[in-house]
């Protein structure tokens, strides 16, 4: 496969993951990852919106005057989000109730506008589509990772399949209630970022300030 195509899809998975490297799109990662099923639906929704928005913006990129560029991009993104949200409300009404406002909030997800500005506005349609899918997959990887940990440790089951028998059912597993609350996602993502940057040290950002060692003698 063409090296550029491969890089466009694979880079956002770990090397340039939108959540762990660029630290974008954290809000929905915290809110809906207490259930693996919600995380999967949300991931699918984001991939669809990203692909649609990247392709559309790439198609019209030569005709976007600077004065209205952002507004037009947001309008396109919002329309994509509305269509996806309506689809979920129509064909998956139970899930729609669980996901409630978070599908609609994809409009505010920095990943979507971020990729539109950083990539789709300057690249051809084909690569923009791949970049959209790649970043969507990178986001999905993190969401699924967090959701598996949270749902497994918070309820003992995954996708309604019991894996650890809980003490309330006579088993040995005592579910961790913190895992069902958003702050747990914060911690898990933090540890994930720490882990990835220990493995791929090139992702570590240089310090913004130089630390000066000051000793007491300097004040005599």
């Amino acid at each position: 496969m063409n090296r550029r195509i491969r890089d466009t899809i694979l880079n956002p998975l770990i090397n340039e993951n939108p959540i762990t490297l660029q630290v974008l799109g954290i809000c929905s990662a915290l809110a809906i990852t207490n259930s693996l099923y919600s995380a999967l639906i949300m991931s699918l929704a984001l991939i669809l919106v990203l692909a649609f928005s990247n392709v559309t913006i790439s198609l019209i990129r030569h005709h976007l005057p600077d004065s209205v560029r952002i507004i037009v991009q947001i309008t396109v993104i919002a329309s994509g989000v509305i269509v996806v949200d309506e689809w979920i409300k129509t064909f998956l009404p139970e899930t729609a109730r669980t996901l409630s406002v978070f599908v609609g909030l994809i409009v505010t997800n920095c990943i979507v506008l971020g990729r539109a500005e950083a990539f789709a506005a300057h690249n051809k349609v084909g690569y923009s589509f791949l970049d959209g899918v790649g970043n969507g997959l990178g986001y999905s990887l993190v969401l699924v990772f967090v959701a598996i940990i949270r749902e497994l440790l918070g309820t003992g089951s995954l996708l309604n399949v019991k894996i650890f028998p809980t003490t309330t059912e006579g088993g040995w597993f005592d579910p961790n209630a913190l895992m069902l609350l958003p702050p747990s996602a914060f911690f898990i993502i933090g540890f994930l970022i720490w882990g990835i940057r220990s493995w791929k040290t090139e992702q570590v950002e240089p310090a913004e300030f130089k630390q000066l060692l000051i000793s007491d003698e300097d004040f005599d």
Binding site: H62, H63, L64, P65, S67, V68, S79, I82, T90, P93
Partner: protein
């Protein structure tokens, strides 16, 4: 046209707005009937919940809701006369939507409009549950709705066969303040309605009765518990119930039904 040309900016914006609105509108219109069907199913889920045909906290599948709904007799009732209107199929007629139909709706005189609805349909859906063995009325479920704190609150109230004692209450659509107003969904609060009586001597609604009245001994039965911090919401529920069981609500229907079920 050059991108710096301001006319191009206007054209691009207008074209984007046109295409996007078309896309969104076509989607919404095409899928609206399916969403409406599911909303109706959800409404019937609430209906079945307080019908006494199943445990109130049971989580029912869609087909279970449909199966239990078929054990309930639905009727379309003209609120002014209290009689059943046979021209409409009670299982498909939507008395809540009819309020938008100029032929079917009417204005509520302001002195009666406690629920702040301004208009309501002349016809409404009512639900009766008869004992399959002896044909006696077991329970009656009536829709109640009115203006809440932020938007309309929709629910059902179930009455025992004396048409006075509350058997249950539930709300299936509301946008009250999260954590405060939406405590009206709390099963403990809803359970506190059971056994309360709406009327004293058949037709006088005494809900939330005046402490100084001579009926004060009965007031416990005619009062509902408030929810602290949710004054507007609970007042809205009280107003709603007083409207629907007042002179502009179900009063005529109740008179007709009482005659029907007397042996």
């Amino acid at each position: 046209m050059d991108n710096d040309n301001p006319i191009k900016a206007i054209l691009v914006v207008m074209l984007t707005a046109l295409v996007c609105s078309l896309l969104v509108t076509v989607t919404a219109v095409k899928w609206q009937p399916i969403q409406q069907a599911y909303q109706n199913l959800d409404r019937n889920r609430a209906l079945v919940k307080i019908s006494g045909l199943t445990h109130e906290s049971a989580q029912l599948t869609d087909s279970e809701v449909i199966a239990l709904y078929q054990k309930i007799e639905a009727r379309v009732v003209n609120l002014a006369t209290g009689e059943t209107d046979a021209n409409y199929n009670p299982n498909t007629f939507d008395g809540w939507q009819a309020e938008n139909n100029p032929e079917l709706n009417e204005e509520i005189p302001s002195e009666f409009d406690l629920a702040k609805l301004k208009r309501r349909s002349r016809l409404i859906n009512v639900y009766l549950i008869f004992d399959p063995e002896n044909g006696r009325l077991k329970r009656m479920i009536l829709p109640i709705y009115g203006q809440g704190m932020w938007s309309k609150i929709f629910g059902f109230i179930a009455l025992e066969n004396d048409l006075n004692t509350v058997a249950g209450i539930t709300f299936y659509q509301q946008s009250e303040t999260a954590g405060i107003g939406d405590k009206i969904l709390n099963p403990i609060w809803q359970n506190s309605w059971r056994g309360r009586k709406l009327f004293v001597k058949d037709e006088t609604l005494v809900l939330g009765g005046d402490k100084s009245s001579s009926q004060s001994k009965l007031n416990g039965l005619h009062q509902i518990d408030a929810i602290s911090g949710a004054t507007v919401t609970v007042d809205a529920i009280k107003d709603m119930v007083e409207y629907w069981f007042g002179p502009h609500g179900y009063v005529n229907f109740l008179r007709v039904i009482r005659k029907e079920i007397k042996p």
